[in-house]
């Protein structure tokens, strides 16, 4: 029943007919199109939906709109007046208070309410006030800084006005180019978009974790008024999909079998989401239950039921690396220790849920709006599944609210929205609920790791051997690459002369795991770092010193044929040791206080892309034999100067997902063009406009897309040089450009405006356009099976020192402080670098102490929400110091490498070591919960007492 209601929102009256059960959030977004208010969880846990009600922050997802008619409602759209940002919004922009921006409207509103009440809050008061707003990107550091420094942006404050022409090129910490849109709620994410005549889709997921689909009856759903299309496995293609071409094992909709809770069984399109949800309930499915496997170590046992017939022993990939002679080296080692570690199934939990909108043209072209990190892979997979050429598919990537790897593949939403849209002839929008996000998964593999280390008397590594079982869930997804990565990256950080790795990627009846930040490496890295610190303690060598003795050096070929170029790993060790006052603290802290070290690094882009052939449909042509080179460029850019020469439009399909790629790419392109970044516009969202860039994964964008955009900019400048030379009366080779001026090298007084030269170019030659592309170097990697995984044009390095306090009675850990130094090459945008590090530290620390998807024996997810699956709040986040060491990577653009994923790797080991240092017990299975700590302390006490008793006995006997 609809009732006409009147709301006062941002001082304006809105009349709208709504049902009694509608939340304020849905009314704002769906009925009034005030989409600045975000839906992150729909259950009060995340704060993305925060609005001010009579000046106080509330969750609009927990308010029935029908009960707030008489209240004054402020949404993010209502803060800026006449286009002028509030001081707080300016502060968020300038201080790096946001990345993906999905938490930002809520964050800004909560902080606005605080400052209204308390204009000069302390750090603790700010944290208290923002404790209900989760952020997955920033580590809260920039946010805290933004609120603390808001005063500076008040009228007349020290930063109120921009100071002259600020440097904006490479190396400048310019604010993100999308920041203003994100603090005002103008940035459009996929779920914010609404197309005319659009309808809504929902997927029916399996309620059981393993079973056969015996019968599906959709007649009742079809008969429900408002339902436009219902699809089941029988209605869709038999073509399977996935990530690794050799292991496409996912059905669009279940054909005969379901393999995890939430496995897609049917899809419905209806006039609105609520009707679609009702329709799902009317679909009758009969299942025959099969035994459920939730534990990888059980799944590989003989006689375990097979989840896929084709994967014997439920193993879809086996890796066997064997370099040198580990067994002999262990025999020759002075000290050998072997330990077993277990990781956790961590889920990325970006604040923005996955979302897709599909719409077809009359001539059979698909436009897909999708929240993705990898537009070209989505385009490719959609072509594969729809059996149409890639050229008929346009992928638009609106603003993306974080990914961290769960948006690195084609989702059921992409596929089903396209199929439903084709079936009903209308645009179809589909958005995951928070629970569905967990059921879709693609989080971190839970790895069971047995790892053995041998060192000589000085602590120099002689050999490392590891055996890892990766619990990957019901489908392969990225699993092949994950299993290789888990082994291939260990030898990049320390010199390991003999190395053996056996990896097994195991299927279980859980949502598929994928490529989460640091892809496959963080858990083995955690295990290795813990083991190295244990060895150091056993040998009486300082844990930082043992790392120095083994540290990778520049221009080294690792034992597994990875070509390390620049490497300032040792410098990061020295820097963290100094900055954290390590020597004064390690081993000298009171009980309950601890300090620990962890190190790590990552690739700057994968040397080879997932599809090694041409950009084409995989079924058009057989797979080509592998060649050690990329067939097509991985990053491609076009830059077009506007006809008046005042602006340049950069076009590249590089996926901005919150990490800040649009901003650094603009900076690099502007630098090579010779204009300020403020004169650049970015077009990275639309495959129809921007040429292919593979996307935001393997920390590749700054490096690879950076090359493409700088080359495109350089080409434009080359085209301008003859015209400039004519105007300046010099040779073309003497022309330089900077900050919008073109001048004679060595004599800046002979100059002409950049725009004037650009106009001359246009007048004479038409469009002034430059193109650039990047292919990784040829020949990367060795000649063994799996040698391509881990190859990269450059590697990052980093060291982190973590300090903790542990309540020894309850086991509660407070991560107090992090000191981190990275070798990320030469930073393009230092603020962006620190933002990545801060975010990675908080995500990684949370992963170490509190995160993990839990499953019942029946495969049910026990915590598919943000009150069961805990991520750190601003009050949990440590104080962070992030620094970079001097470094220049000759193969990188402007000397840059990567920071996005490498920043995660040192964190887990550092936290675990600090906890061990504080408590005297090593916890080797993640997450390190208070309960595990208490139990371990108790066990240690009992063991110590027993040992003392044993030692005492002979004494008394004598």
């Amino acid at each position: 029943m609809f009732t006409a209601r009147t709301f006062t929102i941002n001082g304006q009256q809105y009349d709208v007919a709504i049902e009694d059960g509608e939340t304020l959030l849905d009314v704002l977004r769906d009925r009034l199109h005030l989409t600045g208010t975000k839906k992150g969880c729909d259950s009060g846990d995340c704060g993305a939906c925060t609005v001010l009600i009579d000046g106080e922050p509330l969750n609009s997802c927990l308010l029935l709109a029908s009960t707030v008619e008489d209240r004054s409602i402020t949404t993010i759209e209502g803060l800026a007046r006449n286009g002028e940002l509030t001081p707080l919004q300016k502060s968020f922009v300038a201080e790096g208070g946001l990345q993906c921006g999905y938490c930002t409207p809520g964050m800004v509103l909560s902080a606005t309410a605080l400052l209204e009440r308390n204009p000069d809050p302390s750090a603790d008061e700010i944290k208290d006030a923002l404790a209900g707003n989760l952020c997955r990107c920033t580590g809260y550091t920039g946010i805290l800084r933004a609120v603390e420094r808001c005063k500076n942006y008040l009228e007349g404050g020290q930063c109120a006005k921009p100071r002259g022409v600020e440097p904006s090129g490479v190396g400048a910490s310019i604010p993100r180019i999308d920041a203003a849109d994100k603090v005002t709620g103008r940035a459009l994410y996929t779920a914010d978009i609404s197309l005319p005549y659009m309808v809504h889709g929902k997927i029916l997921g399996s309620p059981i974790a393993h079973g056969l689909v015996k019968r599906i009856d959709v007649s009742k759903a079809k008969a429900l008024p408002g339902v436009l299309a219902v699809l089941t496995g029988a209605d869709v293609t038999d073509t399977k999909h996935g990530v690794s071409p050799a292991r496409y094992d996912e059905d669009v909709l279940a054909k005969d079998k379901v393999r995890h809770i939430g496995d897609p069984v049917a899809a419905v399109a209806a006039v609105d989401e609520k009707t679609a949800e009702r329709a799902l309930k009317l679909i009758e499915v009969e299942y025959e239950r099969l035994p459920v496997l939730t534990d990888a170590m059980e799944a590989i046992k003989e006689g375990a039921p097979l989840i896929h017939e084709k994967y014997k022993s439920n193993i879809c990939t086996t890796v066997d690396f064997n370099f040198g002679d580990v067994e002999t080296a262990f025999k020759e080692s002075h000290y050998v220790r072997e330990e077993t570690f277990v990781g956790n199934n961590v889920f990325q939990s970006p604040l923005e849920p996955h979302a897709s909108i599909s719409t077809w043209s009359h001539d059979g072209n698909l436009t897909l709006y999708t929240s993705t990190q990898v537009p070209p892979y989505v385009q490719y997979m959609m072509a594969h599944l729809l059996h149409i050429p890639l050229g008929k598919i346009r992928v638009i990537r609106p603003a993306v609210g974080g990914g961290f790897g769960t948006k690195a593949a084609t989702t059921p939403l992409d596929i089903c929205s396209a199929l439903l849209s084709r079936a009903c002839g209308r645009p179809v929008k589909m958005v995951y609920s928070r629970e569905e996000m967990f059921q879709y998964g693609r989080g971190r593999h839970k790895q069971h790791m047995k790892i053995k280390l041998g060192v000589d008397r000085e602590g120099k590594i002689k050999a490392v051997k590891s055996e890892v079982h990766l619990d990957g869930g019901a489908y392969t997804s990225f699993g092949v690459a994950t299993a290789y990565y888990a082994g291939s990256m260990i030898p990049t950080l320390y010199k390991i002369p003999n190395y053996r790795y056996d990896g097994y990627r195991v299927m279980t009846n859980k949502p598929a795991c994928g490529a989460m930040r640091g892809h496959g490496v963080p858990q083995p890295r955690f295990a290795f770092e813990c083991l190295l610190s244990m060895a150091a303690d056993d040998l009486g060598i300082d844990p930082i010193e043992i790392r120095r003795r083994n540290a990778m050096t520049p221009n080294t070929m690792t034992v597994n044929d990875l070509d390390i170029g620049s490497c300032e790993f040792s410098a990061t060790l020295d820097a963290v040791a100094g900055k954290s006052a390590w020597k004064d603290k390690y081993g000298k802290l009171p009980k309950g206080k601890g300090i620990g070290i962890g190190c790590g690094g990552f690739v700057s882009g994968a040397g080879y892309c997932i599809y090694r052939g041409q950009v084409q449909l995989s079924h058009e042509k057989g797979r080509e034999p592998f060649q050690k080179k990329s067939i097509f460029p991985h990053a491609n850019a076009v830059v077009r100067v506007t006809e008046d020469g005042e602006a340049a439009v950069l076009m590249i399909g590089a996926a901005e997902i919150g990490q800040g790629s649009d901003t650094v790419l603009v900076q690099m392109c502007a630098q090579s063009l010779g204009i300020p970044a403020s004169r650049m516009r970015m077009q990275s969202a639309d495959s129809e406009i921007s040429p292919l860039d593979l996307g935001a994964y393997s920390s590749r964008v700054t490096f690879m897309a950076g090359h493409a955009v700088s080359r495109a900019g350089a080409m434009v400048l080359e085209k301008m040089k003859p015209y400039a030379a004519a105007l300046l009366g010099c040779a073309a080779s003497e022309v330089e450009a900077r900050d919008g001026t073109v001048f004679v090298r060595g004599d800046a007084s002979r100059s002409v405006l950049w725009a004037e030269v650009a106009r001359k170019c246009f007048n004479a030659d038409g469009p002034l356009v430059g193109t650039g592309w990047y292919k990784p170097p040829e020949g990367l990697g060795g000649d063994y099976k799996g040698a391509t995984v881990g190859t990269s044009p450059a590697y990052s390095f980093g060291s982190s020192v973590c300090e903790v306090s542990v309540d020894l009675e309850t086991g509660k850990v407070k991560i107090d402080k992090f000191t981190d130094y990275h070798d990320c090459g030469t930073p393009i945008n230092p603020q962006g670098v620190h933002g990545q590090v801060e975010g990675a530290i908080v995500m990684g620390a949370g992963e170490t102490v509190m995160e993990g998807v839990a499953f019942g024996d029946d495969g049910q997810l026990l915590n598919p929400n943000l009150h069961g699956y805990l991520i750190m709040t601003i009050k949990d986040a440590p104080e962070i110091f992030s620094g970079v060491v001097d470094s220049y990577e000759p193969r990188g653009p402007f000397g840059a490498k990567e920071i996005g994923e490498g920043s995660t790797l040192p964190v887990l080991g550092a936290v675990a070591h600090a906890i061990a240092n504080a408590t005297g017990v090593w916890i080797k299975d993640l997450p390190i919960t208070p309960e595990k700590i208490v139990n371990a302390i108790r066990q240690k006490k009992a063991a110590d007492a027993a040992r003392r008793e044993r030692r005492d006995e002979p004494v008394t006997a004598k």
């Binding site: 106080e56 927990l62 308010l63 209900g132 009150h867 009050k875």
Partner: protein
């Protein structure tokens, strides 16, 4: 998930609310701050055709100082209680609960009535209210009655409230001289973490520092807030030395009936109860001063 079709009735008075409850029972729920009700409706924990919204009943809102203590209207939000200048002195122990539960946004909506009468086992206010000897004022169109807070909740999401009865207010008696209370809770995050376990303690001492009265109540370790009656008997008349505190902690651990779930095993919870009891006793004692 969207909330299925539902009708919201806005009550202007207590009597009207009671009448509406009576009329639609059992297909009805009260709606106060909605922080539990909306989540429950969306996740289909229950479904009803009608909600009776209390927001319009002004009389139910606010904290007032009465002759015999503090009266907290059921519709008072957690934030209002937290910020009330009347929550001062010995009453300030209430803030141990109000300042640490949920999030600022949730506290701005959530009401005292919802927290208490919602009868969720991990609700943070009931234990400290029980320790402070609070009573619940229940109201229906047939009249009012008062029950001790420890007798209000009988199980998970079940109370002694009758079909058309609602909680109108919570009364916290004026604390005697030399009184101190504290609530110690343990959550898995620094903020917005449901209590894994909590222990509330209220103490009054005689001039010779022997215990005149002591009340201990537990959170999240039993189907309902758990009043540890035996602790009163144990402590009254004694000096609160380490041994007495340890014995009280042991009693509390014994009284707990924890379950194992995602947040912690039963054994761990029981252990927490011991630790938290000692800490709450120490904090309450410290608040009494010398």
């Amino acid at each position: 998930m969207h909330i299925p079709s539902i009708e919201v009735h806005k009550a202007a008075t207590l009597a009207e609310a009671s009448a509406l409850l009576g009329r639609f029972s059992p297909d009805v729920r009260l709606l106060a701050g909605g922080t539990d009700v909306l989540v429950d409706l969306k996740t289909a924990r229950f479904s009803v055709g009608h909600l009776v919204a209390l927001g319009g009943i002004k009389k139910l809102r606010g904290v007032t100082e009465e002759r015999d203590g503090l009266r907290i209207g059921a519709l008072t939000t957690i934030t209002e209680l937290d910020r009330s200048p009347l929550v001062a002195g010995a009453y300030a122990a209430l803030r141990d609960a109000t300042s640490r539960m949920a999030t600022p946004q949730v506290r701005n909506a959530a009401t005292v009535g919802g927290n208490v009468a919602g009868a969720v086992p991990c609700a943070d206010l009931p234990p400290i209210l029980i320790a402070m000897n609070a009573t619940a004022l229940l109201s229906s169109d047939k009249g009012e009655r008062t029950v001790a807070l420890e007798d209000l909740v009988v199980g998970p999401r079940t109370t002694v409230l009758r079909d058309n009865e609602l909680l109108a207010a919570v009364n916290v008696p004026r604390p005697p001289e030399r009184f101190g209370a504290a609530y110690a809770r343990f959550g898995l995050r620094e903020a917005n973490a449901i209590a894994v376990a909590g222990v509330a303690v209220a103490l009054a001492l005689n001039d010779d520092r022997t215990v005149r009265s002591a009340r201990i109540a537990l959170c999240a370790v039993a189907p309902a807030p758990k009043f540890v009656k035996e602790a009163t008997r144990l402590l009254v008349g004694r000096v609160l030395d380490e041994r007495a505190c340890a014995q009280a902690a042991a009693l509390a651990m014994e009284a707990a009936e924890p379950i194992s779930d995602l947040r912690g095993s039963a054994e761990y919870r029981r252990e927490l109860v011991g630790t938290l009891t000692r800490r709450a006793l120490a904090a309450a004692q410290q608040r009494i001063g010398r």
